[in-house]
Symmetry: C2
């Protein structure tokens, strides 16, 4: 895993992966007490940065292998990112999803061209199903984060941040990432190490699911106790990845932990001041900048908004936090 | 008024005016039965394309004149666009607003650095107040649309559309604009006449306020009967401008008229599929593409989303249209 892999993914993605805008508002600067820029990955294809990793993996495969199709396990943003990347490459995808996943997510993944295979969480082992399908059909597994090509794809977001910082005249910044398994965080950290080495990358997580913050503090991988029960579901993973954690340990500052209420407030302010839709997990970084500025040091903060796939009832809860 | 003025405004705006993204979703393509691209001016500074015109006007003034400050009449997007453009130029702005304008719009305009002067719609003439202030202080009036420098600024949106169409491989398109006084529409039409002459510009308006569609049909300027009573307030004007109408007459195809309900549905789909916030007036073009495709001819449609400044209750009405 090195910077050249990220640069290669960037070249492969040109014209396919969206260069998402860096947004700002004087009203948010006022709340945060410093300049705030939001890297709007909610505007990426399929509504999250996961398309970058999907595209990177698909575009790097040799054509014969790719033609056989890919497989992924996901009920969320990774599923949609891989499904669309596969379709845009003219190949097929199989997405293994729990049968009790929200119907709209299943329908959306199908609508993006994927074959969705459902399994029962209680009685079936998804890995067994996936292994069998992969062997029978010669499918290639695209892991959600602990995979160099996927990390390289997510890292292209960091190369864009570095470029856009120059365009905006930003010379020093804290960069807060929405952090689940660490694919986006480690990719951005490596990109900035190369192109904006003075920037300080800070992973953000929701309360109760702060495995990365605790792992960084302990210097070794820590697990979450729970795996469900957060509205920030898009960025909930059992623990940081074996590949991503050493990168984060080497390059990132302390983790920042925010409440669900902070996320809802940040979503509402993004609606009102930036006119973008962010999902709860995608709002942890903005919430950190707006409400936990005492943990930051630079006069400028760049936050990623990792995704915008949010159901109406949850978005209405966010709007309800506006006066 | 010519294309060179638009190109000059583009140069003056580089690094200050945001190049807003061109967004798309396979789900919207499916609904429309053709490819749909949304030019997201809701992500422009102050949340609408009006910042382009404000910046163009301010940046073209001679420094001595500019230092005396500018004045504008507006309770909405033009007010905020001019206020921020003035502040970014280090000068002052006076915005004349009706005393019964929503408090949040008054507060926002003040927060962007403007001096807000309120008048009573029943008993006072805003023009008299404006004239007096202008004379006393040497302020320069920035008109909302019937002003060459403002049209030139809005036209920069058209230059970007032309560039982005090339990047996306779009060779033929209908381009639907959200149309009030015609500043944005005429600016875009002139830009595309030069840089994408095959594209067909179509102004969109809400039912009951279709002065441009009727004017184009009649070949002469027609007025609206009412001036209030639409949720699409951001694009309601009495009639097309004396400068903008001849340009639209020469370059635009027929107007398209949509219902308020269509706008609310388009806002909801933009939330769900593009993760952007659009105001009702900013949704007339997308509504045209999604629900009135029988009036279009090309296999690709580019719609402007002119703004995203929408109050929570109206946005909640839009969300309620989602199943």
């Amino acid at each position: 895993m090195n910077i050249e892999m990220i640069r290669a993914a960037y070249v492969r993605g040109k014209g396919h992966v969206r260069r998402t805008p860096l947004l700002s508002s004087p009203f948010l600067d006022e709340i945060a007490g410093r300049r705030v820029f939001l890297k709007a990955e909610c505007l990426q294809h399929t509504g999250s940065f996961k398309f970058r990793g999907g595209w990177s993996a698909l575009s790097a495969m040799n054509p014969e292998q790719r033609a056989k199709g890919v497989i992924a396990f996901s009920s969320g943003n990774h599923a949609q990112g891989v499904a669309l990347a596969a379709r845009m490459h003219g190949t097929s995808s199989v997405i293994i999803m729990p049968a009790d996943a929200p119907r709209v997510k299943i329908e959306n993944t199908k609508a993006l061209g994927a074959e969705v295979v459902l399994y029962d969480r209680g009685s079936q082992d998804r890995d067994v199903i996936g292994d069998k399908l992969s062997r029978e059909r010669g499918l290639t597994l695209v892991k959600p984060f602990d995979e160099p090509l996927v990390i390289a794809g997510q890292g292209t977001c960091g190369l864009e941040i570095a470029e856009q910082a120059v365009e905006e005249g930003i010379v020093d910044a804290d960069v807060i990432t929405c952090c689940g398994g660490g694919g986006l965080t480690s990719g951005i950290a490596m990109a900035l190490e190369a192109d904006q080495p003075g920037f300080n990358v800070r992973p953000a997580e929701p309360e109760g699911f702060d495995d990365v913050a605790r792992s960084l503090r302990a210097g070794a991988i820590q697990r979450n106790d729970a795996m469900t029960g957060s509205i920030c579901d898009a960025i909930i993973t059992p623990q940081p990845g074996d590949l991503t954690f050493p990168i984060m340990k080497r390059l990132c500052g302390d983790g920042i932990v925010v409440s669900e209420h902070d996320c809802l407030r940040a979503m509402a302010l993004a609606f009102e001041r930036l006119r973008v839709v962010i999902e709860p997990g995608g709002a942890v970084a903005l919430a950190s900048a707006l409400f936990h500025g005492d943990q930051l040091s630079a006069d400028t903060v760049i936050v990623t908004a990792s995704g915008g796939n949010v159901d109406k009832p949850v978005f209405e809860r966010a709007l309800a936090t506006l006066e």
